[in-house]
């Protein structure tokens, strides 16, 4: 196959996917831009005002909070000490309130955290499962940074294609979820099982189906149609997927 043949074939295939834009697209964009013009000027004005307000607040905070401005008692107690009116430091040592758990979603594929520049590969270093009240949990832990993006796609069966082999595997259960992790590998730091059969009520099986060229895919076999939630935790970076069981 020549270079031109390949280009022509791939161009034809892309043509079949995209088709042509509607003739009205140009007018539609033009109208949207013209309609947006006053808003754009308005936004500039609002942004300038917001910047000014923020600057004033920052200056105020610096003036009030600057430790150099605080009252320091004179050693030896000579002279009249003036009671300070400086407010006590306001920094709280309380931990920030824990964010409320993500709601469960049903059958919605999700994508998380795409970034522009490719970061170094995030190495999977642990895969754990656990059974909790109301949900089963899968945790995939990373080291060496975070993956560039993660997609979670439910599907109505448990048959998955292994890549790059191209063959299929069938997991336990009725429905499945495919987790695609871009910018990651599961062979540098992970030496655990590639196929975990849990025996839980909701999450029945977890199996790696791809670890190739910076893309890792884990397939989940589930007992029923998945209602799940996805959370990304830090220190260390972990992808947590909870499968609702009740």
């Amino acid at each position: 196959m020549t270079r031109e043949d390949f280009r022509r074939e791939i161009g034809d295939a892309f043509d079949a996917i995209s088709g042509s834009p509607s003739p009205a697209l140009s007018d539609r964009v033009r109208s949207a831009l013209v309609e947006d013009a006053p808003e754009r000027h308005g936004q500039v004005w609002i942004a300038a005002l917001a910047a000014a307000v923020i600057a004033v607040i920052l200056v105020g905070v610096l003036l009030v909070g600057n430790p150099l401005n605080r009252f320091h008692p004179t050693p030896g107690g000579h002279g009249t000490s003036t009671p300070t009116t400086s407010p006590a430091p306001t920094a709280s040592t309380n931990p920030s309130p824990t964010a409320s758990p993500q709601p469960f979603i049903c059958s919605d594929p999700s994508a998380f955290g795409a970034s522009q520049a490719p970061p170094p590969l995030a190495y999977v270093d642990a895969v754990r499962t656990g059974m909790h009240t109301g949900y089963d949990r899968l945790t995939i832990e990373f080291q060496n940074g975070q993956p560039s993006s993660i997609e979670v796609r439910p599907q109505a069966n448990t048959t998955f294609t292994r890549s790059p082999r191209g063959d299929t595997v069938k997991l336990l259960g009725k429905d499945g979820i495919l987790i695609t992790i871009h910018g990651s590998d599961a062979h540098t730091a992970y030496s655990g099982s590639m196929d975990l059969k849990t025996g839980y009520a909701g999450l029945l099986e977890v199996r790696e189906v791809q670890d190739f060229e910076g893309v890792v895919q884990w397939a989940l076999g589930l007992a029923t149609t998945p209602c799940y939630r996805v959370v990304i935790l830090t220190n260390p970076i972990r992808l947590v997927i909870d499968i609702q069981t009740s």
Binding site: G11, S18, R30, V34, D36, D108, R153, E213
Partner: protein, 180 residues
């Protein structure tokens, strides 16, 4: 396949930078077709693709100052905004992703595409949108490697490598010479 006017009169850019929406519309008009094709391939949905291009155009208009009047970078800058918009659409609208997972059959005239093209189309749709992106930019929109790299925020070498790796997912026997 697709011709895009690279050079735009600097006067139009100057007017657009000063807030002339009509001038900006004129500036990006030659880019709407490639932008649509990029979005349609990434989203696998033509209607959503047009919405994404419109939204990306507005965002580009609002961020025109970032470009600092550099007409030569307009195309890669605009296409990167379109690509980002497609990513956002995919994140926000789960059904778009579902369509990517199980693409609808596209109705085409039977003799318009041969079997190989149909196979290749299916193979392309099996790639993730992020994998399709460099292929669209290089093979479909005919962007040179350095412009693909700028659009993707990569070095030219990394862009080339990504294109080749993804192309080999379509045809594992492809050689470098057959791709570039």
């Amino acid at each position: 396949m697709i011709s895009v006017v690279m050079e735009q009169p600097p006067q139009i850019m100057a007017r657009a930078t000063q807030g002339d929406a009509q001038a900006f519309a004129l500036l990006i008009e030659p880019l709407l077709n490639p932008a649509y094709r990029l979005a349609a391939v990434m989203l696998a949905d033509r209607t959503t693709a047009e919405d994404a291009v419109q939204e990306a155009s507005i965002k580009a208009w609002r961020k025109l100052g970032q470009l600092r009047g550099d007409v030569g970078s307009l195309r890669s800058w605009f296409l990167s905004i379109v690509a980002n918009e497609c990513r956002m659409v995919r994140r926000q609208r789960w059904w778009s992703v579902a369509k990517l997972a199980e693409p609808r059959p596209v109705h085409v005239v039977a003799d318009q595409f041969d079997e190989t093209s149909t196979d290749l189309k299916s193979a392309l749709l099996r790639l993730s949108p992020e994998e399709r992106l460099p292929l669209v930019l290089h093979f479909y929109l005919d962007l040179p490697l350095d412009e693909v790299a700028r659009t993707l925020g990569l070095s030219p070498a990394a862009a080339k490598s990504r294109i080749y790796r993804t192309a080999r997912k379509l045809r594992s026997d492809l050689t470098l010479e057959e791709v570039f």
